[in-house]
């Protein structure tokens, strides 16, 4: 089945916004999507892949290395000349083994020529792109640790099976999961830049619209893709422009103060909340094509950036989102 066009996804605005922001500024650190089954989590994440502006990458390099990568990792990234290629999108299955994820000995070459060569894994494939893990809350602990480590350092270091390899692995982690089936460890949760909650649309009209679109896509995927190509193209341009604009934007003193106050008011743990909030507001402004980062951007992104960082008070029934909106209302009126 062809990928469902991103622009044809009805509703789920918060998730779409978060994904686009992560696309504009990958340094935000990934998106965690919470939600029930059948709410379009996977569809949106996979649709995003087809939407992003292509990147320039070394020809034939398994890591899709950029110019900078070639300079930093001359031994693994080679000297191939730059060609256009699509942003990688890696769909990591729940049962992936450590070997598959970090890479392992290249069996084929070892068997054929007795050569000790490294076969890059999923982390290498995801470099400069997206790594999507459905049901991340069911992933084995040791894999989660490994992913976090690589995501934080931007580099995959393999020291096993007599191999010693270092290669770039910068990617945006997109996780999805249903909290009813097991919680995510707080340490892992905190590493995600943004988190969104997805619910099944309750509005009958919206549900009907979704049925209609899916039926149309099933009936004739090509015509359907064509119908939405233009809208997808618009978003693609918006992302590309946002990416270009991002370095020019610096959040002013007032926005920084707002971010700090908000984090303090909701009791978000650690500095990471403030940093992410600031970065996300900046990416939001870039995505909108705004001239400067304002409080409006900050407020728009605050729930996604902070929701998963609030200290859990098990006796407090109030949801995190409510606590954040309440704090925003109190602080900024």
């Amino acid at each position: 089945m062809a990928r469902f066009p991103f622009s044809a996804i009805v509703g789920q605005d918060e998730m779409k916004q978060a994904l686009l922001i992560a696309a504009v500024d990958p340094s935000i650190g990934g998106v965690m999507v919470f939600g029930d089954r059948g709410t379009g989590k996977s569809t949106a994440a996979r649709a995003l892949a087809g939407l992003l502006p292509p990147i320039m990458a070394a020809d034939g390099c398994p890591y899709g290395a950029s110019k900078e990568d070639q300079a930093r990792y001359p031994e693994v990234c080679g000297r191939g000349k730059m060609v256009k290629r699509a942003v990688p999108f890696v769909d990591m299955p729940l049962g992936a083994t450590e070997d598959r994820v970090i890479g392992s000995l290249d069996l084929e070459r070892a068997l054929r020529s007795g050569e000790k060569a490294f076969e890059p894994g999923l982390l290498a494939k995801a470099h400069r792109g997206f790594l999507y893990i459905d049901e991340i809350n069911l992933l084995e602990d040791h894999l989660v640790d490994l992913l976090l480590d690589v995501a934080a350092s931007g580099e995959n270091v393999v020291e096993r099976e007599g191999l010693s390899v270092r290669h770039p692995a910068k990617f945006v982690l997109i996780g999805s999961g249903n909290p009813e089936e097991g919680e995510l460890r707080p340490q892992l949760l905190d590493r995600f830049g943004l988190s969104v909650e997805v619910r099944t649309p309750k509005d009958i009209e919206v549900r009907i619209e979704i049925m209609r679109l899916v039926a149309a896509n099933e009936a004739d995927p090509e015509a359907f893709a064509k119908r939405w190509a233009e809208a997808d193209e618009t978003i693609l341009k918006q992302v590309a422009k946002g990416k270009a604009r991002l370095p020019k934007l610096t959040p002013g003193e007032d926005v920084l103060r707002d971010a700090a106050e908000l984090c303090l008011a909701v009791g978000a743990d650690g500095l990471r909340g403030e940093l992410t909030l600031m970065r996300a507001a900046r990416a939001m402004a870039a995505l909108e094509g705004a001239k400067k980062v304002t409080r409006k951007h900050l407020i728009a992104i605050a729930p996604s950036a902070l929701r998963h960082r609030l200290r859990r008070d098990v006796l407090d029934e109030t949801g995190s989102t409510t606590r954040i909106t309440r704090a925003i209302a109190e602080l900024f009126g």
């Binding site: 089945m1 029930d36 089954r37 059948g38 709410t39 379009g40 996977s42 996979r46 299955p93 729940l94 049962g95 992936a96 083994t97 450590e98 000995l105 069996l107 084929e108 070892a110 068997l111 054929r112 020529s113 007795g114 459905d134 049901e135 069911l138 084995e140 096993r160 099976e161 007599g162 249903n178 909290p179 009813e180 089936e181 097991g182 919680e183 460890r185 707080p186 909650e197 619910r199 099944t200 649309p201 309750k202 509005d203 009958i204 009209e205 549900r207 009907i208 979704i210 049925m211 209609r212 039926a215 099933e218 009936a219 098990v314 006796l315 029934e317 949801g319 989102t321 409510t322 909106t325």
Partner: protein, 563 residues
Amino acid sequence: MTPEPADPLDEAVLAARLFVLAPATFKGMTLRGSSPAREALVAALAEALPLRRLPGHVDDERLLGGIDLASSLAAGRPVRQTGLIEEARGGALIAGMAERMDGSIAGRLAQALDDGGTALVLLDDAAEPDDAPPASLTERLAFTCDLTHSRRWQGVTLAAPAGALADVAPLDDATLRALAATAEALGVDSLRALIHTGEAARGLAALAGRSVTDISDHASAVRLVLAPRATRLPPEEAPEAPPDEPPAPPPDGSPEDQSNTDQQQQEPDLSDILVEAAKAAIPAGLLEQLAQGKAPRRAQSSGTGQKRKAATRGKPLGARPGMPRGGHKLALIDSLRAAVPWQAVRQRESGASASSGIIMRKEDLRIRRFEERSARVTIFAVDASGSAAAARLAEAKGAVELMLGQAYVTRSEVALVAFRGTSAELLLPPTRSLTRARRTLAELPGGGGTPLAMGLNAAREVAEAVIARGRSAALVILTDGRANIAADGSPGRPQATADAETAAKAIAARGIDALVVDISARPGPEGAALAAALGGRFLALPRADARMLQAAIQAVQPLGKAA
């Protein structure tokens, strides 16, 4: 006895015909209950569609393709094999005992289903109601048929369709609206289910050779797809008065999500008919549960929420590097697999000839790993009767939540049994999910008599199920010990006390650790007597808050012997 529409086999045959009509659209079916009817149906399916068996122990290489180790060794060069998913394209994979399927295989399959081209038949032999095939798969497959009670098995044939799915016109708006409203009335949230319903309606028209769907198609589609996924009973009245949101709003409910209006515009006639059709088709057991208001607590779609259980069976996982000691077993094949690729390199390094056998090194050794089990399940039996006053109940709730908060660290799980009035029920099967637990607790009502014996029996049943799965169980009973409802539900203090003592002794006989926490304002002798009968500890907490209570529970754990 609930009226049965027809033999379940007829429905299953219809679903199977739809599936065969468009395997890629409907993705597959779950067939519950081992019976001759199911075997007959699978045989009929196999004639219409190539079926590949998927054994439960299938590994990644076989599933996805990769290097064939045995042939590679024989040939001295890498030999690739195609995976089962690839081989089954155009047909379907069929998995027996799907309720025991490993999460990692389910993950692969779910991904393959999403990518398209793969179809799946799950045979679900679950004996217990909370056992179910992985929800990530059942959710994606259009049909679930229960053939446990089918009394027929002869003459199962899948009649050829009279038309094709592509020739059937898309559904009109009124139909879409009616289907969406029906899904809403049945509490089916998943959009996948809704989409499958629409396609099933078109498929039914195609089977009959019509190019437009009619009302019977819609009704059958609802019966086939939505009814087995129902999480609540449709309202008795006409749907002009849409039901209120179920009493359990999601914990982080943001206001904009709660808009479920717009229903008033629908024509009551069509969706009324559809809801009726669905109601007739809801399996009897499910109907019963729904009528008691039990199922909505559970899930968004059929059989969800039980994944953790399926994952704690101690199934073997892949091998990891390591030394076979300290209880770890050597994984011979994996060790060989690790060593083989290196032979050429090592032979060159050591100067040995090719005939000198396999050169193994320490780093080749692989050990077998088994799925980690939660060490302990703490079962809370909470007295929610009128005598255990409402304030104490709130404390008990708080303590359970605090315990859960620690479940991250200790990898333990918590279950909750509540007893009040004339019944005891398992509110929360063993879980680590804070979200679920919190919601369940918030819903826990108080008041009524104290059926202590029932509560103890229910708790014991949970504990036995836990132990049967190779884990240890501990009971924490929060009560004032003043039983006044007997095990058979009749009031009367003497009989109730005697029954409670019997139930307590049954627990003691099973060797289950127990702790009685007396939560009455003025602890009497009853609590201590109960603890004595249980062979457990006793703790009086006349003025404890949740945190103190939790500290106390922590202090007495582990409760003596390690079960």
